[in-house]
């Protein structure tokens, strides 16, 4: 059980998917101008990660033992299908939400964070429950980073920022400082 807590907290804080592993940067930098959109995208991403983690475990345990070289293609197919499926699901259950999310849903497919999750979990040999906890932690970490940056960006809209630095340059520097802040979480699980 110690192990599971470490996996979760590590993915959420100590080794945050975005701020430590640089995964999921496209949406992180591109979509984080609105707090609400960021939170929604984070939630959707977390769900996709969960499904991906389960499918990855099933694939790894039963199918890919015989054909490890097909791992990458299988993962991509799983991720693309999951996103497609969720898109249809949201469209059916809540058309309003679907319209609000718009283009962002298909963008989840190319989100390196999801593929990265599957690959990391495979490399570390995570079992079924470890994979799920890892997905929850990673998704929460991704959402956390997005929401933090979105909040900061919304605030900065109200300030006088020189045009030269505005845009991606500023977002990256803010992200760098956030990353530094998150470094403070290292050593969270050290016992003496």
């Amino acid at each position: 059980m110690d192990n599971l807590l470490w996996i979760f907290v590590s993915a959420l804080l100590v080794n945050n998917f975005v701020l430590t592993y640089f995964l999921g940067l496209c949406p992180f930098l591109g979509v984080s101008n609105s707090l609400e959109t960021s939170a929604r995208l984070g939630l959707a991403t977390t769900f996709v990660m969960l499904v991906t983690a389960i499918c990855a475990w099933v694939l790894n345990t039963y199918v890919l033992i015989h054909a490890p070289y097909l791992r990458l293609i299988c993962f991509i197919v799983v991720i693309a299908s999951t996103v497609q499926f969720i898109e249809m699901l949201i469209k059916k259950l809540s058309p309003a939400l679907f319209r609000a999310m718009g283009i962002f849903l298909p963008l989840i497919t190319t989100n390196c964070a999801i593929l990265g999750l599957a690959i990391f979990a495979t490399n570390r040999g995570y079992g079924f429950w470890e994979g799920i906890i890892y997905a929850l932690g990673a998704g929460a970490g991704f959402t956390l980073a997005m929401v933090l940056l979105a909040g900061l960006r919304e605030e900065s809209e109200l300030s006088n920022i020189p045009a030269l630095i505005k845009g991606t340059a500023m977002n990256l520097i803010i992200a760098g400082i956030l990353s530094m802040a998150f470094m403070g979480f290292a050593g969270l699980f050290s016992s003496s």
Binding site: T20, R71, I119, N171, G176
Partner: protein, 214 residues
């Protein structure tokens, strides 16, 4: 004319439309593997192989791939090249492969490659597509290398593992840690913005002078 055209296609990827600094694509692998120059070059090389190979195939088969399934086909082609690169690196240079780790398979999710297939390779003849890919990949490699070199020099006092400064150099360790990646790229983009701004200003002045002169 043809010669200039080809040159244009190649050179645009190096500076004017540099995938990282101008188009801001391909970020994910970018920052994670540039903590040292050698890792950056290795990743640049792998991406080079994948981009040029996929562009070649996509462009050659562009008339055979129906529009509806084109993205899936692109992804299959890209994933194949990435897997080939992955196993080749693992067999030939296992130490480098260990450093790059999970980021080699992640080349597949690099928006740059898919973007190039969709925007260019699937619409233009093979020769131009390959030139475009060569240019973009070279620009990408250049960007990765400059990032990796800066981070390694400041964060480790070395380049390609060769110590540059004496023992008294206190390395700026944060540069080879994740924040360093963000900050370095941010500052480089800042310089690009400033450069572009200066250039626009200059062109403005020239245009104003010409108008005034007439």
């Amino acid at each position: 004319m043809k010669k200039n055209e080809s040159y244009e296609e190649f050179i645009k990827g190096l500076w004017r439309d540099n995938p990282v600094f101008v188009q801001v694509l391909g970020m994910c692998p970018m920052l994670a593997v540039t903590n040292s120059a050698i890792n950056a070059v290795a990743m640049g090389g792998a991406t080079f192989f994948v981009l040029v190979g996929s562009s070649f195939l996509v462009s050659s088969f562009r008339n055979l791939i129906p529009k509806q399934v084109r993205i899936s086909c692109f992804i299959i082609i890209i994933a194949t090249f990435v897997t080939i690169a992955d196993y080749s690196l693992l067999a030939l240079v296992p130490t480098v492969h260990k450093e790059l780790g999970a980021f080699i398979p992640l080349i597949v999710a690099n928006c740059l490659i898919l973007g190039r297939q969709e925007a260019f390779a699937s619409r233009y003849p093979t020769r131009l597509a390959v030139l475009d890919a060569l240019g973009m990949a070279s620009g990408f490699m250049l960007a990765l290398f400059s990032l990796g070199a800066v981070r390694e020099i400041l964060g480790d006092g070395a380049l390609f593992g060769i110590k540059l400064f004496g023992d008294n150099f206190e390395p700026w360790v944060i540069m080879i840690l994740p924040p360093g990646g963000f900050l370095t790229l941010g500052v480089i983009l800042l310089f690009f913005n400033w450069f572009k701004h200066k250039k626009d200003e200059f062109l403005e002045d020239v245009a104003a002078a010409e108008r005034g002169g007439n």
